[in-house]
Symmetry: C2
Subunit: 354 residues, 2 copies
Amino acid sequence: KQYRIAVIPGDGIGKEVMPEGLRVLEAAAKKHGVSLHFDHFDFSSWDYYEKHGQMMPDDWKEKIGKHDAIYFGAVGWPAKIPDHVSLWGSLIKFRREFDQYVNLRPVRLMPGVPSPLANRKPGDIDFWVVRENTEGEYSSVGGRMFPDTDREFVTQQTVMTRTGVDRILKFAFELAQSRPKKHLTSATKSNGISITMPYWDERVEAMARKFPGVKWDKYHIDILTANFVLHPDWFDVVVGSNLFGDILSDLGPACTGTIGIAPSGNINPEGDFPSVFEPVHGSAPDIAGQGIANPIGAIWSGAMMLDHLGEKVAGKSIVDAIERTLAERTLRTKDLGGNADTTACGKAVADMVD
Amino acid sequence: KQYRIAVIPGDGIGKEVMPEGLRVLEAAAKKHGVSLHFDHFDFSSWDYYEKHGQMMPDDWKEKIGKHDAIYFGAVGWPAKIPDHVSLWGSLIKFRREFDQYVNLRPVRLMPGVPSPLANRKPGDIDFWVVRENTEGEYSSVGGRMFPDTDREFVTQQTVMTRTGVDRILKFAFELAQSRPKKHLTSATKSNGISITMPYWDERVEAMARKFPGVKWDKYHIDILTANFVLHPDWFDVVVGSNLFGDILSDLGPACTGTIGIAPSGNINPEGDFPSVFEPVHGSAPDIAGQGIANPIGAIWSGAMMLDHLGEKVAGKSIVDAIERTLAERTLRTKDLGGNADTTACGKAVADMVD
Ligand SMILES: CC(C)[C@H](C(=O)O)[C@@H](O)C(=O)O
Ligand SMILES: CC(C)[C@H](C(=O)O)[C@@H](O)C(=O)O
């Protein structure tokens, strides 16, 4: 079977890292007899917005909705276009309208990447953050009253639905069950956020009863962030709401040295819609155009995409190649103390694919 | 003038660390000619609840509302009493009803405390987290619909008022202005939480115009937690909403090695009501009764209380004594690799007060 992939580089360094991601995907596809077809799209970018006054064409869903997956660079350029236009007009739209209710990110200390944590070695930190990706704190329900007076106030609702909470928990428990440690940690804050978070806890308990083989625990988000720093070896699968998952999946990669190499998947597990795979880093306008961006986040996202498509062997061959590349100082980009540029690093990974 | 302090040890290790806090306060008061009068209260504890069926007497406000400050141990014992009863029945009640709208916590790497971060030395990390303490995400507004059906959902509103946001920002900007670096960082998430957080940003910008001498920046909470780990030296004063401040003021102390020594003040700056000073750690039922709890969090909170009362010299004498004590392995408690028990550590600090 041939997989049809929609490729959207987006803004800034998105445009620089994507060619390297594609290079590595092609290398892995060739080695492992996987057939990939790429369709390129220029929307979801400042360039497109400048020309058309909107982030995406009206028929964006027809254009990319039938692909097997979407391979995405980065979007956003706050100096030129407000985030609520660029992000809500593309990335967050994908998540909502393609029902990508799982945001999945590995947290893994890789060889050659110095950890900011003292005395942690590759192998010590290796877990997944599973984030609810469609509801929760990122609602659009709320408003402002008494504007420009002393009585002014704003409200915004956090919304958790039974459907939304249960399906992300099910995904997380299943993932935990598939791993050797079979351990799930839930992020909560039910001692302070007194309505939605106790509900989250309640649903976790109900779901846990269906997975008797999974050991589980929960921490309030404040102490959980502390434990990411103090005890990153405690975790196997960590599940959180949209906001908590967002925080933990930036903090986790930071604990492993850099968010420059972290990948992510915005996944619709049922396959009713395409899933989006993108590096965790943004468009980084400050370093765009210099050819120094680290392409590993994009490359690793490509590996997650192959995995999602069911091509696990090809996916793993990329992750292994990343590990071997990072182990060599001369093949790493500047942010990791190396001297390779974006292309050299991408080529190195492609060459290492086995 | 004699200061009247209400002393509430509360639960668990609260009862063990408070005597050491008082010991040190008395030593500092004596050295510096400060007159302190302590009134002891047994409410806000499981013991009290067991006897009376409520956390506090009906006239708790009359009992402690006229004191110059409240010195608090810890409350909560989830195995015996749900958090929403114990915490919302005391600690959070104080914050709301005594309008303690500032939660203030230092983040400071102390000598002798091994940082979980590689290559950080005392002096490298030294900032304040200023947390809004009465509104925001900890609202009680919301509810559940269609219970026990597939359509079930819950909502909870985040509420930000002009009054609430402006006064915490003013406090934070004033604090920044009083410090050598004059640098303020605001925690936001306006790219995802699309109504309340842009409002927060808007008020930060408005307040910043009144403090032209303060340099300020803002980070989204996800990358901000990452930067606490990667660049803790970037911060001077960090201000956040109730939830974001809560997270940052646990993560910050974790980056400096332990939340066991972190202090906090729940402050009503106008002095219309007493402020509460308490260690960041909780009642720790798992180690209660063993005499091994670290009393430094409580002792340091006592120093913050003296500071708040205007007795800055006496307050500083305690912080200096803490630094000298922590520098000696034999005077530290077990959690910091020492072999002192709670009392020995408390006595050591009291002896060091100069
Ligand atoms: C106990 C809990 C409600 C409280 C909070 O979240 O405010 C605690 O974490 C704190 O920081 O004082
Ligand atoms: C850009 C922003 C809206 C987004 C989020 O918070 O979801 C980003 O931080 C992410 O994690 O993908």
